[in-house]
């Protein structure tokens, strides 16, 4: 009998200590209010009041009695039966707080809450203050429903994310998946580790899509189409899993040839520009040549029109005017006598050439 008492007391003592965490100070602070110097003060000591609270639950009081008994045995004292059950109030406060904290839930503006009743899905609640039954019965799990993004592929300076294209070339691709939770219940209950799943499915879809296009499309014009296809394919696969996830968009951040061949790709760009500059130069030449031809032809036409009106006069006039312009600016020697061979000093071959030209 004594053994059972002692065990019970220890058990109760430890139990009340465990539970006492939040309300211990209030109980302890008022402890030993009536201490009249009889031995060490017990933290569970009570001021002299009537032991039983009228109308209080008898069960709690019984436990209190039992507890006190045990405590006193521990302290080696005789029971003082006129003690007040402070700890009972504490327990009541604790239960109240428990109810309060596990029944009311604040769900943020970008969240939804999934309520389960004994583990079974009950309902999904929106943002705001929500009421559920207290914890062991109902529980609420919050799910973030705002758009999240996930980056796949190399950031600056990291290892390249190489992908094979349809024409067996290789590109370095980096992209971002934007997604959000569409159905929180599905998101929580249907797939283990949904984020990793989205990552894997998107990566697989991206590789499958890139494998159907050529290198040039993957780098250039086909990017938009790849994005759309990856989004559709990822969504389709995730829907088949029932992941409760909505893929908002896929955007290719970077789609380049790998570093090791980048120079060769740049050389192509250079070649294209070079070719373009050849063509531009040729076009310039062409415009110049045709314009000049048109100009000269037009000039000739004008002169010819005048010439037609008075051929002989015009011809002589043009001849004299030209000769005048030419001969007025050059050194002239007129050799009068026939048969005389003048001595010519030829300063340079050009002069001689000019002479030959003249003749």
């Amino acid at each position: 009998m004594r053994a059972i008492w002692g065990w019970g007391a220890r058990l109760a003592g430890s139990w009340s200590e465990n539970k006492g965490g939040p309300w211990g100070p209030s109980g302890g602070g008022s402890g030993g209010g009536d201490g009249d110097g009889e031995g060490p003060r017990s933290p569970w000591g009570q001021p002299p009041r009537r032991r039983r609270t009228p109308g209080g639950p008898s069960n709690i009081s019984s436990i209190e009695d039992f507890l006190k008994k045990g405590r006193e045995r521990f302290g080696g004292r005789f029971p003082n039966q006129d003690r007040r059950p402070y700890w009972a109030y504490g327990l009541a406060i604790f239960l109240l707080l428990w109810l309060l904290f596990t029944s009311f839930h604040r769900v943020g503006p970008q969240e939804e809450g999934v309520v389960t009743l004994f583990g079974r899905y009950s309902r999904t609640v929106g943002p705001g203050i929500n009421f559920t039954l207290p914890l062991p019965i109902e529980s609420l799990e919050r799910v973030d429903t705002q758009i999240r993004s996930m980056s796949i592929g190399a950031e600056q300076g990291e290892q390249e994310n190489l992908i094979l294209t349809g024409d067996e070339n290789i590109i370095d691709l980096a992209y971002t998946i934007r997604w959000k939770v569409r159905d929180p219940a599905l998101y929580l209950f249907n797939v283990q580790d949904p984020e990793a799943t989205i990552h894997q499915v998107a990566e697989s879809a991206m590789r499958a899509s890139v494998a159907t296009v050529s290198l040039d499309d993957a780098i250039g014009a086909g990017r938009g189409e790849i994005e759309n296809r990856v989004q559709a394919l990822t969504q389709q696969v995730l829907d088949r899993y029932g992941a409760g996830v909505q893929i908002q968009g896929v955007s290719i951040r970077q789609s380049d040839p790998p570093d090791k061949v980048n120079d060769a790709f740049k050389a192509v760009t250079t070649a294209q520009q070079e070719a373009q500059s050849y063509i531009n130069q040729a076009r310039g030449y062409a415009q110049q040549v045709t314009a000049r031809a048109q100009g000269e032809a037009a000039a000739f036409d004008k002169v010819y029109a005048q010439y037609k009106l008075a051929p002989e006069v015009t011809r002589r006039r043009m001849y004299y005017e030209t000769m005048e312009r030419v001969l007025s600016k050059v050194d002239k020697t007129v050799v009068e006598a026939p048969g005389v061979v003048p001595y010519l000093s030829l300063p340079n071959p050009r002069a001689k050439a000019a002479e030959g030209d003249q003749r």
Partner: protein
């Protein structure tokens, strides 16, 4: 001692016992788990098993009752799980070496069978993983490398999935999906692929340049031809006058030391004129 003092102890003791028994009797089964109830080591029944198409809230999840202490609960995940296979070396039928990452997704659809055959989900995954590797190798080994990069890929996947499902069914699991995540060229092949890409680009660069040069040539020639045509049309009206007209222009340019303003003098010209020259006809006086 009064009975009032004695009874609280008994009540508390009873309450604690009751709690222990209640804990051993009642259990909550969440939506994400299936429970196999095992009595003395023998699986008795399944709670919240997977049934396709049953909405949450109408499944078997919730509060359950079992015989305390006699029956244990074995929890088995109800959600879709993943098995991954990394860096599997695969040789295609045209002797191309590939490094393949794949994943399979499965769900335990028969928890009882799974519990008897494999005890835990981890064991199931461990059984599926090597099969995933060998099925992938077999399937890809039957095909050309290029098939991997084509819509045929889907067919490959469903073949692997079928092979995998045969094994998974023995463990009460169902393969939901098999996908190839990566199919990469291994290090050495990668280098030669880069080399191929480089040479292809160099070829493209040269071709582009040559094309540009060709077009430029054509444009120039066309312009020359057009100019010639323009000249011919104009000058052909009177070739004799053209000869004279052009000669005059030519003398102007040839003998003028400053043919155009801003250009340096083109050298000194000395002309020796014979009196017979037509220009000096009048200079000689009429005879």
């Amino acid at each position: 001692m009064s009975p009032v003092l004695r009874s609280p102890l008994a009540v508390a003791f009873a309450a604690i016992m009751l709690l222990i028994v209640a804990g051993a009797t009642f259990a909550t089964v969440p939506e994400s788990k299936q429970a196999v109830i095992v009595r003395w080591g023998r699986p008795m029944r399944v709670v919240n098993p997977y049934h396709p198409g049953v909405p949450f809230g109408e499944t078997g999840a919730g509060l359950i009752v079992r015989y305390p202490f006699m029956e244990q609960i074995v929890w088995i995940d109800k959600r879709i799980q993943t098995v991954e296979m990394d860096n599997q070396q695969v040789l295609s039928i045209d002797q191309q070496r590939l490094e393949v990452d794949a994943f399979a997704r499965f769900r335990i659809v028969d928890p009882l069978k799974m519990y008897i055959q494999a005890k835990t989900e981890e064991n199931v995954a461990a059984q599926i993983q090597p099969i995933l590797g060998s099925a992938t190798r077999n399937e890809l080994g039957k095909r050309q490398f290029a098939a991997l990069l084509s819509p045929e890929r889907g067919q490959i996947m469903s073949n692997i999935r079928a092979a995998l499902n045969r094994v998974a069914a023995q463990y009460g699991a169902e393969i939901v999906d098999v996908r190839i995540k990566k199919a990469d060229l291994p290090e050495g092949t990668l280098e030669s692929a880069f080399q191929r890409m480089r040479t292809a680009r160099e070829q493209e660069a040269n071709a582009t340049k040559a094309q540009g040069y060709k077009q430029a040539q054509i444009i120039r020639a066309e312009a020359d031809a057009e100019a010639a045509n323009t000249y011919a049309q104009a000058f052909n009206k009177d070739p004799e006058f053209y000869d004279f007209y052009r000669a005059m222009q030519s003398y102007d340019v040839t003998f003028n030391p400053n043919p155009q303003p801003g250009q340096p003098p083109q050298g000194k010209t000395t002309v020796i004129l014979s009196p017979e020259n037509d220009y000096l006809r009048e200079f000689r006086g009429r005879k």
